[in-house]
Symmetry: C2
Subunit: 237 residues, 2 copies
């Protein structure tokens, strides 16, 4: 069933922080729960973006690779697009846009799916490098990350706003990835300036948090909750 009220998340950010980078859900199963989303691939291999049911990873080299349904993911969030609010914007930065949406939508306590289609006078991203076993933790894995810049690029931003209450399970606040129209540039967004774009905003009533309960490494892992929020802010922002 195509449920447009639900954000489906496999794995938690806390698991990545602890170095659990092994893929635990096939992409094919993830896509049963949404056609739009973000995440990462097995071994923390790149920044995943899902647009119109097709997943891509932007690797640390900058290369964009379409993903097949057998790719396993350790952490990903998806939903079925059905925008309740759409608007056109011209000449705003990511920070201006965040403020504008947050003020208008009173969305601090709810999960929101976001998609932005348009042209960006500037887009600044980064992408994580694939990790080798034994895996380091997320802070070590993300200490050095290649960054990428493009001007006058058309493409799609996909991401979420999550209540800060859920920081740790996911990223509290905004978290979004980009892929360009020609599918050869993208990544985790650091900042952007919109030239002109359509913004789609979708308040989601449910979070489904799915956990890899049969993964023995996950079951046995001791998550350090004391430093979790600081670790996330260092690695994800």
């Amino acid at each position: 069933m195509r449920d447009t009220t639900t954000l489906y998340q496999h794995g938690t950010l806390a698991m990545l922080v602890a170095g659990l980078f092994e893929g635990t859900l096939p992409l094919g199963e993830l896509l049963e729960h949404g056609d739009t989303g973000i995440g990462t691939a097995d071994c923390l291999d790149g920044e995943m973006v899902i647009v119109d049911g097709q997943a891509y990873k932007v690797q640390g080299s900058g290369t964009v690779v379409p993903l097949t349904p057998d790719t396993k993911v350790p952490f990903a969030s998806v939903h079925f697009m059905d925008a309740q609010e759409q608007r056109s914007v011209v000449g705003v930065t990511d920070e201006q846009l965040k403020q504008q949406i947050q003020t208008e939508m009173k969305m601090d306590n709810v999960f929101v799916g976001l998609r932005i289609d348009g042209t960006f006078s500037h887009m600044h991203t980064r992408a994580v490098n694939k990790q080798e076993r034994p895996f380091p933790n997320l802070t070590a894995a993300t200490r050095v990350q290649p960054e990428f810049n493009a001007d006058q690029v058309s493409g799609t931003v996909v991401g979420y706003f999550a209540p800060h209450l859920f920081q740790g399970a996911t990223v509290g606040g905004f978290h979004w990835h980009f892929i360009n129209t020609t599918r050869n540039f993208g990544g985790h967004i650091l900042d952007f300036t919109i030239d002109q774009a359509e913004i789609s905003v979708q308040v989601l009533e449910n979070l489904v948090q799915h956990l890899p309960i049969n993964n023995t490494e996950f079951r046995a892992k001791n998550l350090d909750l004391k430093t979790l929020s600081d670790d996330i802010n260092e690695a994800e922002h």
Copy 2:
């Protein structure tokens, strides 16, 4: 569909901590997602226990009241019982039982549904008093709570273990309520000693976190996350 892999939660504990005690989901809708669970009723009116599809509230007076489907709840957790692990125990306290289950099940990172049926040589509970508008916060509302004791009482414990990562959305660790077989004694459990009982343990793969996205008070509320965990520990343990 009777989904036995999912813990369904309406509302968050953080909302109760902030004084959002108004019921936002009819019990009838909640029970579509489970036949077993715990929670509270509109205006924080008592400790709710759901056993075999029937909900009861144990009020601050100690009175046990069966609830009808139109009762609204601000916060509740339910699942469909389908125990994977069952065992008989004799002569253990709640603290001994918790340690025993946690060690054997390696369940620190997963959600677990628990049900205990048997006789208890001692059962010590408490129940919260119904609150009046304008609502205080949870710490103030639970500062004085009537406590209840019973010896050689037969009945049912229902509750959950939640990963500490989800403290705030819910109670991290164990959280369970009791109702006796004759349905005239129960409440939020402070401690117990089992005489003899059957323990049912069910690891749940999904948490569905449902939020009252159309409640304007909820949408506008500023949740104080800095003091949240301390507030929960004061009010719930």
